[in-house]
Amino acid sequence: MSWFETVRSGLEAIASHRLRSGLTVLGILIGIAAVILTVGLGEGASASVNSAINSLGTNLLIVSPGSSTTGLVRGGFGSASTLTYSNAQALADKVDCPDVIGVAPQVSTEGSLVYGDANWDTTVYGSTTQWLSVRGRSMAEGSFFTNAEVDSDANVVVLGQTTAEELGLFDPVGTTINIGTVPFTVVGILNSAGSSASTNEDDMAIMPITTAQEVLTGSSSVNTIYLEAGSQSTLGAAYDEATDELLALHGIDNPANADFTITTQSSLTATASSVSHTLTVLLAGIAAISLLVGGIGVMNIMLVSVTERVREIGLRKALGATPKVILRQFLVEASTLGLAGGLFGAALGVVGSQVLPDFISDTIELSGAAIAIAIVAAVGVGIVAGAYPAYRAAQLAPIEALRTE
């Protein structure tokens, strides 16, 4: 019996039980779509985290406050406010830290921006003039605030594009807006940086750090100090210099007791990708279980099919079908169900990857390889699930099968 005849016969058998075959295919379909979407979601999350980290700049060191100790209670990282604006100024010292070419301390707080009737809550940052180059941003309109404005605690602010739009500022430079109750003059608008999954870099306001500390936070501590090294090759040296400088400033002898943490962009990337990898594996594992359930569904249906078609099998054997032919016929049926589930599941996955991001804020990255593997896996599930029922059919003694009821 040729393969053509085997496939035709299998398709006819499937077509003769449309509802049952459809439901079986649905089981595989859901499993495959789930696998494709969860892997795509994981890939998308990992890609967006990586791009967010990369957008920080590749030669960046990020100094964060370490853990605070109050009595015997140690807080988590960032719980202390051990970093100050003067620490940042010290790190800018060309003698102690020759490899640090840019320093941008940053404070952040939530602020309510008011312009006329418009009211917009966003993140308000305070930093120095080097923030622009350290964070790799540029100006769309007007100019960034100046060193003089930093020194004089001037009430000036630079807005992100989204923020300006939300406030209804069409000719923003020179306009006065209120943050809380304090009036600020808008001196410039940042160029768009694009948005990552977690934060919108275009929705922000930034002002001199001195002003922010005085008017908004009322504290001398800073949340983060960004350090820029000249190149990837001097990143290590800059890291060591900054560590030594801060240990000395904070009067700490043992580096193990450091009350700050310096992370590099690459260490962030590694952490983030290992987290998203774990997440992807977890999600794909759950999806694989649904595929397994789909496979059990195929086996179940094939067993029912064999039982139900005992007489057909017996007749075919009486007419000259060898066990091999019967085995093949049932395997073709099972793998066709698997293939159909795989193809429809992949289609659903592709559609889902286009539609879902509109409802959830995450991006889904599909790879052709993942889809191909998923389809092959679906056929594999069909064959594995069909193997036992097909074997049973092939071994059926023709006289048993033809025995009248």
Partner: protein
Amino acid sequence: MMDGSSNSKPQGPARPVPVLTSTAPYGATPSAAPGTAPLVEFRNVWKSYLTGAEPVHALRGVSIKVYPGEYISIVGPSGSGKSTFMHILGCLDTPTSGQYILAGTDVSQMDEEHLAETRNRRIGFVFQQFFLLPRLTAWRNVELPLIYAGVDRHKRKLLAMQALDHVGLTNRVNHFPNQLSGGQQQRVAVARALVTEPDLLLADEPTGNLDSRSSADVLAMFDELHQSGRTIVLITHEPDVAAAAERVMRFRDGRFVQAEDTAA
């Protein structure tokens, strides 16, 4: 009781003599027409099943020769072993001991793979329940054995149409089984049995599910096939159906008890 009795029907010299033996050893039977080899030859065939502690003997040393062109009916009560005999004769099962020579080939020890090929090439089955596949049209049912024989599509369709024409169903080729009467379904089954030009037509209670008119139709068809030289073995429990055959053989307790000519 002399089981090895045999009767031969008076016939022309060219006709092979039907020979029946039971427990008698091979060779003790009257010789057939010289130069004609039997199509079917059972040599002291036993079939036993181990259902409990005691083996059950379904066949107890059956010997029989069927020559090409014969039309034989086998009758016997249920439980007599005639179904088991039919299964072995149709290569659907193998004997526990003894030999079964079909068309010069010993098939008694064949594996399922070769048995399937033998069934496909040499035997056409007609069953009581017709056993047509409900999702295939008449001609698609008829072409089934040709698929397993590896015949190409165009030739299959041609042969299937010819076979259906032969059984008088030219205008029903595209009907599904449930659109056909019982008699028509059985005729489709006969067409399917004939389409491979088998050596032996094996009919198991072919009229069991038919009304008397359709039964007569089918038997008339068998008669015609016999006239055209087909070898037919018909298994039934209805004496008047058995009487349609050239020779009637009775089966009881796992062996033939007597053979009689319907003409006698």
